[in-house]
């Protein structure tokens, strides 16, 4: 079993090598497997320690930090794919709370609710009150915009945001931008940012040093994954052109309820699992709707994403982990831990 894991890590390092990424760079990876191993790569030599022994996190520098991305909680959904989405959200929160150190904050990449109902937002807020991280950043999904122009969403989560709910903030030297690509959608199109938001984004990034790590987060993927199902954003090219000059760009999305990753130059794209229900891989089903899996499999295809920022490497390590981390079978999209390379 251990050899297999070692082989998998080596394989992933191999892939990273082929991407032109220096594998001797600093890389911190926390494996959420049942064995609870913490892997650290220092100068290309892997070392591992059991979770219990790393409680002090002595290797961490002050400026390093962790945040968690959750997505697509769809509070209010109650069909066979998951009759109790509030319970699985709670499991995700418990998982966050079980981390040795609380994350600095949580980012929710949208579809908080199923039908934009006040009661659904209420339930979400109640659940999140129990999270170890008290600061939560949101961006809406299309399910949160179902009341006219997303007024329910904006009333609760739109303070300090502009236009349809976009904003930016800085945290320990990293610049975060929350984008909204689920408003004013056009017939036949995919996600859309709109000119007003694009102008704001260009202005927001102006004058920032190219060494500032950038994290963009939005609901619908900002790269084209599967146009037939609307999995992409029509005008994201323009947005991405504004971040091209930066040395480290990470794009975090949701919407598709499965993990998809891509690296293009210095930009790393990543989509998260849902905490509510999985969706099929592109083109493998008649539509993108909720996918029913056997009850004992459900928690393996739902999960959270842990993002660890390492100052010395100006890089972010992204680790997805399913709600159920017991020894899993095949690694399909969404189940099992996955390590995304970093944007340097």
């Amino acid at each position: 079993m251990r050899d297999k894991k070692q082989g998998l890590i080596d394989q992933k390092l191999q892939d990273l090598n082929n991407d032109g990424v220096d594998r001797r760079g600093f890389l911190k990876c926390m494996a959420w497997a049942g064995t609870g191993l913490v892997w650290t790569l220092n100068g290309g030599i892997p070392g591992s320690r059991a979770f219990a022994k790393t409680a002090e996190r002595s290797a961490a520098k002050d400026a390093d930090f962790t945040f968690v991305q959750i997505s697509d909680s769809h509070i209010g959904f109650n069909k066979p794919a998951n009759p109790d989405v509030t319970a699985t959200l709670q499991t995700a929160i418990s998982k966050i709370n079980a981390m040795p150190h609380p994350p600095d904050f949580i980012i929710h990449t949208g579809d908080l609710s199923q039908l934009s109902k006040p009661s659904e937002f209420d339930t979400l807020d109640q659940s999140l009150k129990g999270a170890s991280a008290k600061q939560i950043y949101f961006v809406p999904g299309e399910h949160d915009m179902l009341s006219d122009n997303g007024e329910q969403y904006l009333e609760r989560y739109g303070k300090g945001t502009k236009g349809t709910g976009y904003y930016s903030f800085d945290h320990k030297g990293v610049h975060f931008v929350g984008l909204v690509n689920v408003a004013n959608l056009k017939a036949g199109g995919m996600g859309s940012l709109g000119n007003e938001q694009l102008e704001w984004l260009e202005d927001d990034l102006k004058g920032r040093s190219a060494s500032t790590p950038i994290v963009l987060f939005a609901h619908i993927p900002l790269w084209t994954i599967y146009p037939d199902w609307g999995w992409g954003t029509d005008d994201s090219e323009q947005a991405l052109s504004y971040v091209k000059r930066f040395g480290s760009v990470t794009v975090l999305n949701g919407h598709i309820h499965q993990i998809m990753q891509k690296v293009e130059g210095k930009v790393s794209f990543h989509t998260a699992m849902s905490t509510a229900f999985p969706q099929p891989a592109p083109g493998t089903a008649p539509s993108a709707g909720p996918m029913k899996v056997p009850a004992d499999q459900l928690q393996r295809v739902l999960g959270i994403t842990d993002v660890n920022y390492v100052v010395s490497g100006h890089s972010l390590a992204i680790v997805d982990s399913p709600l159920d981390t017991s020894v899993s079978s095949a690694s399909e999209n969404g189940s099992g831990s996955s390590l995304l390379r970093l944007a340097r």
């Binding site: 299309e142 609307g230 539509s287 909720p290």
Partner: protein, 118 residues
């Protein structure tokens, strides 16, 4: 009666019936509302079925959501706009003017359809 008379008489009746039938249909339709063919569009698997539906002026089209995800029915020209429809909910619109009405689901904009009213 002479033979000729009988012959003419037996022709006359079918002729009269034929004339009535020819004159009939449009008048019958104008006075009988229940024969206006309304249409139903099923929403399922992120699509409208049938994608194009043709109805006469005055017909009502009803959309029924059979999907396990909520959808909306929104005209691209601002003619009609439904509230969000969850599973089994419906939306109806009566078309009083002829024309081609394109619409889509504002939540999942790849879903498009058309109502042809003539």
């Amino acid at each position: 009666m002479t033979r000729t008379n009988v012959w003419v008489g037996s022709l006359a009746i079918p002729a009269m019936i034929a004339m009535l039938l020819l004159a009939g249909p449009s008048r019958v339709a104008a006075t009988d509302q229940s024969s206006t063919p309304n249409a139903e569009v099923k929403i399922d698997n992120f699509s409208f079925g049938p994608q194009t539906v043709t109805v006469p002026v005055g017909a009502t089209v009803t959309w029924v959501n059979h999907d396990d995800i909520p959808h909306t029915v929104v005209s691209t020209d601002g003619v009609f706009k439904s509230k969000v429809r969850d599973t089994d909910e419906k939306f109806s619109y009566t078309f009083t003017k002829a024309g081609i009405y394109s619409y889509f689901c504002s939540v999942h904009p790849k879903m498009t359809g058309q109502v042809v009213v003539q």
